[in-house]
Amino acid sequence: MLVATTVAACGGQDGSAPKAPATIPELTKDPLTLSFIWFDWPPAHALEAFANAEYTKGRPNVTIKVKTVPNANWHDAMFTQFAAHKTDFDIPILDSQHIGEAVTNGNILDITDFVKKNIDVKAYNPYLLAAYGQFPQAETGKRDENASLYGLPLLGDTWTMIYRKDLIGDKPPQTWDEMISVAEKCQADNPGVSGLAFHQANGSDAAAVTYNTVNGVYGGNLWDPKTRKIDGVLNDAAGQEAMDVLVNKMKPLTAKGSGNWFIDEVNAAVAQGKACIAFNWIAASGGLLDPKQSTLGTTREQILDKLGFAPLPSQKTNLVPLGGMGMHVSAYSPEANQAEALNFMKWFEQGDIQKKWAAAGGVPSRTDALESPEFLNAQPFNQVYTDSVPRMRDMWNVPEYARLVDIENTNVNAALNGAKAPKDALDDIAKQQQGVLNASSGKGGGGL
C-alpha cells in the first residue's frame, strides 16, 4: 500500500485540462495501437470487435485494444495512472460522474474547440451530449452551450424494468406503488420466486444508484448544485419517503441474501426464473435472451414469451437514472495517439457509424440512430432506452464523486441489510457527504 501510494505521489501536478486542437493533426502512417480502458462487460468486447472491423477499414495501420478491469477497480485503474501522469491507455471511458475529478486534475483534454469544428451537436439530445462531456455539470435535462466539453458519448444506458409476462401479465405496472403491489402478489402466488431483484451491493455504485432512482421517482433531490447543499436536501421528506419505500417495502420482496447483488446476480436471478420483476442496466441485459444462460426457454423466442422489458414506472416524477459512459482523451498519451483518438471520436460520432454500432450491440446517442430501425430492432429493450432519454437524471459530477458515492453505497447497503435504521442511514449520508463537499477546498489531508 505504501509503495502504491508513493508511486502515485511521485507523479507531479498540473491542475487544468489541456486543450485539444480544433483540427485533427496529421495522422501517422506507422502501425499504431489505440488503447481504451473500460470495465469488463459485454459492451467492452463488442466495442473492440466493432472498432477493429469498421474503423480499420479507413485506418488499416491502427489496431484497437479495449483494456478491461473488474468493475470495482475501474475508477482506481484509471485515476492511479492519471496520478502517475503516465497512462497505458489513450481513450479512458469515464463514467459521467468521473468527469469532474478528471477535468479538475487536468487528466483529460478539453475538446470544446474540436467538437465545435468536427461534431454535429444538433444531432443529439442536448442533455446526452452534456452528461457525457460537459463540466461543470449540466442542469438535469439541459446543456449549457457556453460550458466546456471534455468527452463525447460512447454508450448510452439507463435501467430497464424486466418483468415476467407469464407471471404478472403482458401489461407492465405503470406506477411505482403498483409495481410493488404486483411484485408482492406475484411473490405470494409463486413460491420460490421473489417479487423483486435489484442492485444492493456496496461495491461500485450499486446500492447508491438504486436509492437515487427511488429518490428521483418519489420527488427527492440528491443535492442543490448551486449552493452545494446536501444535508437537508437529500434527507428531506421526499428523501425519507424514498428510503422508507426502498427498505421497508421493496427489500422484503427480494431474495434472502441478495444484499450483495449487482448486475450479474440480478441477471442470474432473472435467467433462472427466480424473480417476478427486476431492474438492470440495458447495456448489460443482452445475456438474458441467450438460451444457454437461461432456464426460461430453449430459444430466444421462448424466453421473450416470458420476459418483458419496459421503462421504469413513475410515481411523483418519471425520472430514470442516467447510465452509460463517454470517451475522453488522456492528457498523457503520445501526440500521435491523441490525434488518432480525436480521429476515432469524429468517425464514431457519424450517423451511419452510430447505426452500425447500434446493430453491433451498442447503445448510440445520436437521435437519428436512437430512432433508427437498426437500433430499435436489434434488441427488445432498445425501445425502452429511446423512450427513457427525456427522463434521465444523473448523480453529482464533481471531483469528490468517488467519496460521495462510497458514503452513499455503504450506508444504503447497511440499511438494506439491517445494519442501520433507514432514517439514520439517510441522515448519515447527508451529513457525511456535506462534510466531504465542505472540506473539498482542502487537499490531501482529511478523507477519513
Binding site: Q13, A201, A255, G257, N411, K443, G445
Partner: protein, 316 residues
C-alpha cells in the same frame, strides 16, 4: 584477504596459500569488492522498493499532499496523525480488525496444533497427509475469496444447499453483520490453518523420543506427557507461528475486498481496507500515508513486545 596479498602471513600457525588466483577473476577486485558487487543489486532494489517509499510516505504523512490534486504540499505536522487517532471511523475499523485477528488466529492455532498433533502420532502416510493439508495455503487469496464467495452465496451457494438438505434454514453468510465477519474468519482459517499446522508439526517431530519413553516407564498418563513434555517444548515455536499469522491477519485486505467489500455497510471494513479507500477513492495521500505509517508502527511495537515475551520464555 585480497588476492594480491603476499604469500607470507603475520599470523603464526596460518599457512600462506601459494595457489594463484582463479583464472578470469580480476586482480583488482578484492573480496570486499566482490561482496559489495554481489549484494548491491539486492540492496539497491531494497532501497528503491522499500526504504525510499517508506521514507517518502513518512514525509507525505506530515503534509496535505494529494496525488491527483495540484499545488505544493503544505506541512500539517501531526494533524493527520491526530485526525486518525481521534477518528471514530478509525476506531470502528480497529475494533473490527482486532476481533478478526483474535478470532482467526486463535481458531487457526487450536485447529493447526490439533491437526499437527494427530498427524505426528501416525506412523504411516504422514507425508501425504501433510501435503494434502497444505494445499489451501498454496492458493491465491483472490482465488480463495472468489470460490468461497460462490460457495457462501445465500441463494446459489453449496453451503446453504447442504444446510438445506440437512433440514436447516438458509444463512445469509455475507450480508449480515455477524455472519459476514464470521465468514471472513472461517475462510481465513480454512486457508491458513495449514501454516500453523506445519510449524507445529516441525516442533512436534523435534521433541526427543527418549523423553516420552522415560515418561512411559514412569507410567505417566498421555495427558500428563502432553502437558509436561509436548506443550512446553512446542510452545515457543507455536508462538512464532502465531506472530507471523497475527501480522498477516492485521494486514487483511484481499479477502475483505472479494468476499464482502467491507459490508454490510462498513461492518467488515478492516484497517487496511479503510486505508485503501482513503488513498484511492479520495486520493487523500497525506492522510493515507500517516495511516499506513501508524499501522507499521503498531505492528513493530507489538512485535517487539511479543519477541521480548518469547525471549523471556526461552530464558525461563
Amino acid at each position: 584477504m585480497s588476492d594480491s596479498a603476499p604469500l607470507t602471513t603475520d599470523h603464526p600457525g596460518q599457512v600462506a596459500s601459494a595457489t594463484p588466483p582463479a583464472p578470469g577473476r580480476s586482480r583488482r577486485l578484492s573480496d570486499r569488492g566482490l561482496a559489495v558487487a554481489f549484494t548491491s543489486p539486492a540492496l539497491l532494489l531494497l532501497l528503491a522498493m522499500s526504504v525510499f517509499p517508506l521514507l517518502w510516505a513518512l514525509y507525505l504523512s506530515f503534509t496535505d499532499y494529494s496525488a491527483t490534486r495540484g499545488g505544493p504540499a503544505q506541512f500539517l505536522w501531526f494533524e493527520n496523525y491526530t485526525a486518525i487517532l481521534t477518528s471514530p471511523q478509525v476506531h470502528q475499523r480497529a475494533l473490527t480488525t482486532l476481533i478478526y485477528v483474535v478470532g482467526a488466529v486463535a481458531l487457526q492455532t487450536v485447529l493447526g496444533f490439533a491437526i499437527a498433533y494427530l498427524i505426528s502420532r501416525r506412523a504411516h502416510g504422514r507425508g501425504l497427509l501433510t501435503t494434502l493439508f497444505l494445499v489451501p495455503m498454496m492458493l491465491s487469496p483472490v482465488v480463495v475469496g472468489l470460490f468461497w464467495r460462490f460457495m457462501l452465496d445465500a441463494q446459489f451457494g453449496v453451503i446453504n444447499s447442504m444446510l438445506g438438505s440437512l433440514g436447516l434454514g438458509q444463512v445469509e453468510w455475507l450480508t449480515r453483520q455477524r455472519t459476514a465477519l464470521l465468514s471472513l474468519v472461517l475462510v481465513d482459517t480454512w486457508q491458513w490453518t495449514p501454516f500453523i499446522m506445519l510449524i507445529a508439526l516441525a516442533g512436534l517431530t523435534a521433541v526427543p523420543k527418549y523423553l516420552y519413553e522415560a515418561a512411559s516407564i514412569d507410567r505417566a498418563s498421555e495427558w500428563f506427557q502432553f502437558r509436561t513434555i509436548t506443550l512446553p517444548l512446542v510452545w515457543p515455536l507455536l508462538l512464532i507461528a502465531v506472530l507471523f499469522r497475527a501480522i498477516e491477519a492485521f494486514r487483511l485486505f484481499d479477502l475483505v475486498y472479494i468476499l464482502t467489500s467491507g459490508g454490510p455497510g462498513v461492518s467488515t471494513e478492516t484497517l487496511s481496507f479503510h486505508v485503501y479507500k482513503v488513498a484511492f477513492l479520495g486520493f487523500n495521500t497525506g492522510t493515507a500515508s500517516a495511516y499506513g505509517i501508524l499501522m507499521v508502527v503498531i505492528v513493530i511495537v507489538l512485535t517487539q513486545l511479543y519477541l521480548r515475551y518469547l525471549n523471556k520464555l526461552k530464558e525461563d
